[in-house]
Symmetry: C2
């Protein structure tokens, strides 16, 4: 098949975010690109889907010199994948890429990540998928150093497909191209957020809170994504969507769950 691969692009920072614009510019060199992305930032949306409200999904022109078809969607990243594959595209895409996220989706952040929920949604539908994230939350983040790695990882996925039941969670350190040591296949570091709630009063005197927190990595083991990123490697974690803790099943079978 000489046909160019069909690549669906989405993100969770919104269709105009610099990260997705950079990702589109790379994907253009690898295949036929269609963009279906949220009309506004959707960070921290996890795997939310829109079931109690309607969805808008309209063609838009972000770059008037581009011939790529782009659609702006009122829903979440997972909604974008669902509507993209079912309503917008006339055939199943060969690849879904999501990002490049402004900020980390390494370790436990994968659970809260809208970027990765899009990749997982595609994975469930049987589409190879990659979520890309740069550890820089700024809208002025420099995505250039990611280019050759995004391209190489994407080419490998287009060439090999992905092992069944997983998608890729790729994170980039904040570093110059020359400082990045390479790509490491990793496991998700065992970490958590230590929440802090900033309590304030609104002008009417009602208390409210802002969620903030500190990322705590208790995982001192080898081969974690956090460790790789700290050492200026690009981390690649295969992420599964069968959440069954198979090893725990035996333990539970020894419990008195029945009379």
């Amino acid at each position: 098949m000489n046909k160019k691969p069909l690549i669906l692009v989405t993100n969770d920072d919104g269709i105009t975010a610099p990260g997705i614009r950079h990702l589109i510019s790379i994907m253009k060199t690898l295949g036929e690109v269609v963009v279906v992305a949220p009309d506004r930032p959707q960070s921290g949306m996890g795997h939310a889907i829109t079931i109690s409200d309607n969805l808008y999904c309209d063609p838009v022109t972000i770059d008037k010199y581009s011939e790529i078809k782009e659609y702006s969607c009122s829903g979440t990243p997972a909604d974008c994948v669902k509507i993209g594959t079912q309503e917008i595209l006339d055939r199943q895409p060969d690849l879904l890429v999501s990002g490049i996220n402004h900020g980390s989706n390494a370790s436990v952040n994968v659970i809260y990540s809208g970027t990765m929920s899009a990749a997982v949604e595609a994975g469930i539908e049987g589409i190879p998928a990659i979520g890309f994230s740069l550890l820089d939350y700024s809208m002025k983040a420099d995505f250039k150093p990611t280019t050759k790695f995004v391209k190489r990882i994407t080419q490998q996925v287009l060439e090999h497909g992905l092992p069944e039941g997983c998608v890729l969670n790729v994170n980039f350190p904040v570093a110059e191209s020359s400082e990045i040591k390479g790509v490491k296949v990793c496991r998700q570091a065992k970490a958590h957020w230590q929440e802090q709630f900033d309590k304030r009063s609104n002008p009417q005197g009602r208390d409210y809170y802002w969620l903030s927190g500190e990322f705590i990595n208790n995982d001192k083991g080898e081969n974690t994504d956090i460790q790789a990123l700290e050492q200026n490697y690009v981390s690649v974690v295969p992420v599964q969507f069968d959440l069954t803790a198979h090893r725990a099943m035996e333990t539970l079978n020894n419990w008195k769950l029945n009379d």
Copy 2:
């Protein structure tokens, strides 16, 4: 320790939903109960958290004859767990229970589930946690047949704790007590939703969509949650939050990811 266990209760259908009221009535018999639940339905919210908006979390009285402390929160189920453990409770709870959800969280629904995101959030924080769901979406669902099973499963978790790195996803068939055959420890069935988008025009002539779909179970293997539920068993799936597809790592290490 003779002290009663401290049990945090939440859900995703909102604090007044019949399912959580039933769950509270059972938990009262097992420990000291505190409720922190969304002020409105949050179904399909996945593991969303509120990071770009403030959160309200106010004490409320739903049942004036009850002495249980209850808080109504403007956020998602995961937010409720975060604010409950960090701001409301003065010690770490011994257990988090979420539900009883009006509708299935079996199989791949676990990924979209607000009910289960609360349980996973607690699990990440090191708190044993269970999400309960009944396969009846109606607000008039009959939760009585679940009572003895909810109690027994909860007692087993309080007694044994949970294997590290997992929480429980418990689903109930729609059946009379006498018809329920028992409890089965299961794996997550490999299934997906085949989306259908219902396209309409709003009064101004702009197109919009309603997401709907059909649940497709292609998993003909043994020991799935869907199979157990079809046979009128209560399904218990241990759910992990290390999403690493460990077996895929070797495959990826054979790729040309570096020069």
